[in-house]
Structure formats: C-alpha cells, structure tokens
C-alpha cells in the first residue's frame, strides 16, 4: 500500500531516537582506539641495528639517519635518527620492514604542534649507550662462555660417574684408561682440566691425558720399585 514506506521510515528514526548516542566526548573522554591504531611513529634507539631498511622502504622520505665512522674500523656508528613526521602517510611499510622491530606506531593521535620544526622528531644517541655491535659481540661471547661452562660442568659430573667409558674416547689401551680413570676420581683438578679440554679441544685433551698417564706411570715405577722388583 502507498505510504507504508513513510511509516517504516518514521519507525527507523524512532528506533534510533531511543538508541544510545555514539558521539565520543573526545577532549573530556579519550576515545578507545583499536589495538593496531597508527598514531605517532616511534623509534627505539637501543633496539635499532642500523640496517637502513626502513629508510629504503619509506615512500615519502620520512626517515633519515646520521652516522659517523668508528676510528680504526670499517664500522659506522649511528648518531641520530630522524622521523620527519609531516610527510608520513602512515603506510606502515617501515614498521613491517624493520627486522629488529624498533619502529612502531603508538596510540597517540594528538600530533599537532605550534612550530613547524617541532614536527620533526630527532632521536639522538643516548649518552650511556655502547656500540650496538660491540654489545652484541659481548653478549654473544658471554653466551658462548655460559654454554661451555655448562658443558664442562656436565662433563665433570659424567667423568665422576663413569670415568672409564668417557676416557676411552681420548686414550687407548686398557691400562692407560684405568690409570686415568683412577686419577680423575682421585684428583678434582685433573678431572676439571680433562673435562674442559674435552669440551673445547679433543686432540689437546688426548695429549694432556697421555701426559697425565705417563707421569702417573713414572710415579708408580719410582714410588714402588721394590714390590715390582721383588716379584
């Protein structure tokens, strides 16, 4: 029938009349932003590996960095990182490209500033910061050492438990093996030395072990020649 559409329209507006308002009272109440909202681009100086991928990726030349040569080395050191935010189009390409995930968008959308220059965000090198590469190397070394120490400790316990079996790997001959095993059980220092060398360098371990065995053989010949001779 003619006119029912009008009533339907009136019904729609009436329904909306009693629905809750969706207006956000912004300056009074901050809006709830979605988790992946692209607000202000942020940069983490300490996480950055200075690969420059972000700068190559950016379509608008927003990003730039300043580096200096490290003395007596081919390496460069990052001095400052600049985000010229006025050109940013929030495409997220740099964030996706960053392998160290040191670029990210936060939820801050209040980006207006009084001065045009204030739009540029310059991240200067923090004073207490060590070279990222050195730090990385140090860390790697530390890790390596930790790992070795653990292996050595494991080896020592293994040696104390079942010396013959392990010693057999670096030394030949039943007599030698039993002598070395005895030595390891008797002297912790020898056990530690053998264990360390076994983890780091097996050939050296074999030589040292042979040295220990020979020394022990001589000691035994010198210390009790009488019973031997008496037989």
């Amino acid at each position: 029938m003619q006119g029912t559409g009008l009533l339907k329209g009136l019904g729609v507006t009436l329904k909306h009349f009693f629905q809750r308002e969706i207006t956000e009272q912004y300056p009074d109440v901050m809006p709830e932003l979605p988790e992946r909202y692209r607000g202000c681009l942020q940069y983490d100086f300490k996480k950055c590996i200075v690969c420059g991928i972000c700068i190559n990726t950016c379509p608008n030349d927003v990003l730039s960095m300043e580096t200096e040569k490290v003395e007596n080395s081919k390496k460069k050191r990052l001095l400052s990182y600049t985000i010229d935010f006025q050109y940013c189009m929030f495409c997220n390409l740099c964030v996706e490209a960053c392998p160290a995930s040191c670029l990210y968008f936060n939820q801050n959308f209040e980006l207006s500033v009084y001065n045009r220059d204030d739009i540029r965000m310059v991240y200067l090198r923090p004073a207490d910061m060590v070279d990222t590469e050195e730090a990385a190397n140090d860390q790697a070394e530390d890790q390596q050492q930790d790992k070795e120490q653990k292996q050595i400790n494991a080896m020592i316990t293994a040696l104390n438990k079942n010396p013959q079996k392990i010693v057999a790997k670096i030394i030949a001959g039943e007599e030698e093996v039993s002598i070395l095993a005895e030595l390891i059980l008797r002297d912790e220092k020898i056990a530690a030395k053998i264990a360390e060398l076994m983890v780091k360098d097996k050939e050296k371990a074999a030589k040292v072990a042979a040295g220990f065995v020979n020394k022990e053989k001589k000691n035994r010949q010198n210390s009790d020649p009488v019973p031997k001779g008496g037989e």
Partner: protein, 346 residues
C-alpha cells in the same frame, strides 16, 4: 490555577479603571499588555524550540546535540542570539534597499499576527474574531509576500529562485490547507476558534475528520517550508534560498518568524483537531501548550526522517492528490452531515 491569567487581566483593568482611566482606554492598555505577552511567549518559544530541534535532531542521528553551555546545553540558543546580534549588518549594494529591509520585518509581523486568534486557554485570546480561521489562513498566506520581497530585494539568483519556489509552494498548499479546515467548519457551523474548541467537548475532530487532519498536516508542513518540503531554502541547491543575502539580526528575524509560524500552525492544529485547550485535571493554558508541543515534536520527527522531495513532485502532489482528496473530504463531510441530520441524530 485555571483562572490565573484571566483573573490577573481583570484585576489589571479594574486597577486601571480605579485609577480614573476610562474603560475603553483600560481595554486598550490591556490589549498592549496582551501583545507584549504574546511576543514574550514567542521569544521564549524560539529559545526552547531551537534548542529542542537541535537536541532532537541529534538524538535521531544518535548524536548528543548541544551540551556545553548550561544544563543539557539549554543556554546555547541564548549564546547564538547574542552572537547574531553582534554580527555585521550587510545590505548588498545592488539590493533594492527598501524591500530588502522591510521583508524580514513584514515576515515577523505577519507571524506574530497569527497568534491574535489562537485561543491560548479558556477565555484567553487576544481577539475573539468570529472569522478566526479565515483570518488565520489569509494572514498566513501573507508571509509568501515577505519571502518574495526578500528574494526580489536581494538581487541574487539563489534568493530569487528560492522565493519563486516558496511562492509556488505556498500558493499551491494554501488551497488544500483551507479545504481541510473547511470540513471542521462545516461540522461546527462557525469560523470562530472558541466555538470550534467548544464543539470538541465530547470528541476531537481528529476522530471525525481524519482525512482532513492528514491533508492539513501535510499542507501545513509545506506552508511552513519545513522538511521534507523545504525546497525554498534547500541548502544544497540554493545556499539558503530567499535568505541567502541576509546577515545578523535580519536573517535571525526570518529564522524567528519560521519558528513562530511553526508554533502558530501547530497551535491551530491542536485547536482545530486535538480539542484545543480542553482536557482533564490540568489548567486549559497548560493543555494547549502540551498539545502544541506534541504536534511540533511530530513535525521534528518528520523533518528529520524524510529526504527533501523534488519541486515538480511537490507541486503535482498538491494539485493532483491533496486538493482532490480534501475536496472529496468536504463532499463526504457534507453528505455525512446531511445523512445524520436526516436521521435526526444531531
């Protein structure tokens, strides 16, 4: 409570006569007081209505509306009025200055005149005219001239197109508007609005004349230039219609007059179709206010629901549908009256 205002007026005239004034002069003084009260009512209404319309349109669109100034933003209109008063008054150099300046004044005067016949309560009327409805319709049509003057005097194409549209629309819709009131007049046998209210003692005319009510409502919407019939000031096409060149208080007068017309037409609708000031428990002047505002709320509801219709559709709707329907209603009413009188039921 019922006789607050009438008692007050009687006491006032009594006081004036007691001072030694002749009764005629005392009545004249009372008339002036009544007009001042009408103007006060109008201005108070504007302040409430503009706020109400902004608020209600916001609710229809799930917004909040004005809410910064005063409780629920109620003082927003006052701030707007102050702003309008401080604005520069610009008269275009090419404008027909006399016509340009008279148009808003004429418009507001015509709108205020409409209130003279509306019964605002029992025995509360500025003029108890025995041709009240006729007066209302004829004075209401005068506002067309004000808009035409505004459009012509502005010397601006938007203004002129808006004015032409407005004139065409208002002339077309005045016909079904008058015809739809005719059914009620036929039943009561009087053009006096107090008689019409008295005739609705038992049953409101919205029950006896539902078709007339609907045609009156539609043509009143068009007469008021309100959405969905707001072609004369279609912002998107005409940048403001006949009011394009007006600034500051001159523009505010048009705005004021539009809302004044809205209240007047709604009050007439409440008087003619919804039982006027009659109602239980509450005093009569409160009933007319409640009914008028109920009608105004429906006007708001319709404005913020329907999109603007096309100019040619608007005209053909008036001449091809509303006029025949209201004529048929008159025929039906006449036949009904003849039938009921023949049966001796009334």
């Amino acid at each position: 409570m019922e006789h607050w205002f009438t008692d007050l007026f009687l006491a006032f005239t009594g006081w004036l006569v007691g001072l030694g004034l002749s009764p005629v002069l005392a009545d004249a003084a009372l008339l002036i007081i009544k007009w001042i009260i009408i103007v006060a009512i109008i201005i108070l209404n504007i302040i409430i209505l503009i706020w109400l319309e902004r608020k209600i349109s916001a609710f229809f669109q799930e917004r909040l509306g004005p809410n910064r100034l005063g409780p629920f933003g109620a003082f927003q209109t006052i701030a707007d009025a102050l702003k309008l008063m401080t604005k520069e008054d610009i008269v275009p150099s090419a404008a027909d200055k006399l016509i340009f300046k008279t148009a808003p004044m004429l418009f507001i005067v015509v709108s205020v005149l409409l209130y003279s016949v509306i019964p605002l309560g029992q025995d509360m009327q500025v003029l108890d005219l025995n041709v009240g409805i006729l007066f209302f319709i004829s004075i209401g049509s005068l506002s067309t001239i004000a808009i035409l003057m505004a459009g012509w005097g502005s010397d601006n194409k938007w203004s002129l197109i808006g004015a032409f549209r407005s004139v065409a629309q208002m002339v077309s819709y005045a016909v079904p508007l008058a015809f739809s009131l005719l059914g009620v007049v036929m039943i009561t046998g009087s053009l006096n609005l107090q008689d019409i209210v008295a005739a609705q003692d038992n049953v409101w005319f919205i029950v006896l004349q539902p078709i007339a009510f609907i045609t009156y409502f539609i043509s009143a919407t068009a007469e008021l230039n309100r959405g969905p019939f707001d072609m004369p000031e279609a912002e998107q096409e005409l940048t403001g219609g006949a009011y394009t060149e007006y600034t500051g208080m001159r523009w505010a007068l048009f705005f004021l007059a539009e809302y004044t017309n809205l209240v007047a037409v709604s009050a007439l609708m409440a008087t003619v179709f919804l039982g006027g000031w009659q109602g239980p428990w509450l005093p009569s002047w409160l009933w007319i206010i409640i009914k008028t505002y109920a009608v105004i709320l429906v006007f708001f509801w319709i404005k913020w629901t329907f999109p603007r219709i096309r100019m040619d559709h608007l005209m053909s709707f008036s001449w091809k549908i509303l006029v025949p329907v209201s004529l048929a209603n008159i025929l039906l009413t006449g036949a009904g009256i003849y039938f009921f009188q023949g049966m001796g039921w009334c």
